[in-house]
Amino acid sequence: MARRTIKVDYLARVEGEASIKVVVRDGVVQRAELSIFEPPRFFEALLRGRAFTEAPDITARICGICPVAYQMSAVHAMENALGVSVTGPLRDLRRLLYCGEWIESHALHIYMLHAPDFLGYAGAIDMARDHGDIVRRGLALKKVGNEIMTLVGGREIHPINVCVGGFYRTPHRRELEPLAERLKLARDAALDTVRWVAGFDFPERERDYTFVALRHPEEYPFNEGRIVTSRGLDVDVAAYDEHFEEVHVERSTALYARLRGGGSYLVGPLARYALNFDRLSPLAQAAAREAGLGPRCTNPYRSIIVRAVEVLHACDEALRIIAAYEPPDRPGIAIEPCAGIGVAATEAPRGLLFHRYRLEADGTIAEARIVPPTSQNQASIEEDLANYVGDFLELPDEALQHRCEQTVRNYDPCISCATHFLRLEMDRS
């Protein structure tokens, strides 16, 4: 029997560790596995016994790329438990901060991690030798995201200015004005980005995903909305556990999320886009159409275009928020602790991030649960590998490994396999 094993081992630090293994027998893909070690489980234990006020700063440490998402889901879940609603300029500032993270995270993925796949480079450094100006544009775009994080969040990485009830300090209008000027340039760069990635060659692969994302009555979702799916589900975030579950898979320390009753689902840019196209800014909608996207995209390789459209929307939305900003009277709402259970979901760059906490009467965290987007997408990533790799088996080993990695990178997974130096072991017998 002809056996071909594609195995990508990885050593790691920070966001996580992962490996890919695809086993092929007689020209047929037998199975595809993405194994992840998942840090949030460690953090759930760490949170127990800590004060509710500590959750935003502790959970921000889960990820160096999307700390705002963890902070936002944490503060909203705490406010849900404590019966507090943050509105007005404080809510707008949270959305502005989230814009910064989307710009920063998406620009990093598009330019440094994913584009080299499409242009035939081993990585961003090689790409920069031929396309220095394009790489500089990506770096400049990402930098504007960093600047939002620094101004609103207190620093670029692991923001320290976010608290339950609002912020420790809010910016003055005059601090936001120079940022708006740079955001206008970033918006132009984002539009150029959409046009640039739209010109890549994409494998023609479509899948009938079950998309899952937040949906808000007026906004493209960041912090708030109902959980909706492309199969017609439309529920309050509090009903998350009634419709989604996590199961343990022996070979991985990560939990797999799936729909109750079985089946994988997809969170992230493709899902948000398909379920909220009508909530994108007019400029972002027009750019998406110009790039050849309909109101729904089911080709995961084209997710890089959707990400670029989201960067454009985030620049546009950040400018809108800054133009309308009136500083609040107070940087945050004072909150008295009480016993309760709180849930929240927000849209991390990689997709829906669910938090649930149970608090004691004095505000001590008794239970914490965090369901990150990458664990929700894990089953879909494996199915993509299993479905698509079979079509690429005629490729030589190196090209096939590359295609496997590219397929995983379509999801911008918050694990170290989003890199360009994965190792491949070929096992033929």
């Binding site: 630090r13 920070v14 460690f42 440094m112 961003a124 030798r129 770096l139 670029e156 990485i157 130096f421």
Partner: protein, 164 residues
């Protein structure tokens, strides 16, 4: 950013929550108060584009990071990277696999590498979540801090001699 002939920077790189990975950041903390005030001391997680932005425009940059090259724990290596590319094999561990090596080499390709750029690498033993520094790495952290003080001290002495 235009290159400032005066801007000098030390960057301690790592994840403070992952054992020996914190080595570079601990070196940065140990240097506070021991270097001339004009020298910037910065701590970063090591994501490449943030590091690239951090060293952009500096005339001199000293970068300190943990590494995993297979050498005995605590081994200190010094690389003068202004003239010689870094080996990816030494620094296999980084945020999204896109870290120090990529920052230095991207800076080189884009013409943004500081004229003087030195990397100190401290071989780590363990990178477990929530762990502190191993004893071998803790000793090396002190050594690297002393060597950096000496690097700047010797520069100052050289300049003083030149001025005289």
């Amino acid at each position: 950013m235009t290159t400032s002939p005066l801007r000098r920077i030390v960057v301690g790189i790592g994840n403070p929550e992952r054992g020996d990975d914190a080595a570079g950041r601990v070196v940065a903390r140990r240097l506070r108060g021991r270097l001339p005030e004009a020298i910037e001391i910065v701590e970063l997680d090591g994501e490449a584009t943030a590091l690239l932005a951090c060293i952009d425009g500096a005339a001199e940059a000293f970068l300190v990071d943990a590494c995993s090259s297979g050498a005995p724990a605590g081994t200190v290596q010094r690389f003068d990277v202004a003239g010689t590319p870094l080996s990816r094999g030494t620094f296999g561990l980084s945020t999204h696999g896109f870290g120090l090596v990529e920052a230095v080499e991207l800076a080189r390709v884009l013409g943004q590498l500081p004229a003087r750029c030195v990397v100190y690498a401290i071989e780590g033993a363990a990178f477990e979540s929530g762990a502190g520094l191993s004893s071998a790495v803790a000793a090396s952290v002190a050594e690297v801090a002393d060597r950096l003080v000496a690097e700047f001290g010797s520069q100052r002495n050289t300049r003083e001699r030149q001025d005289a």
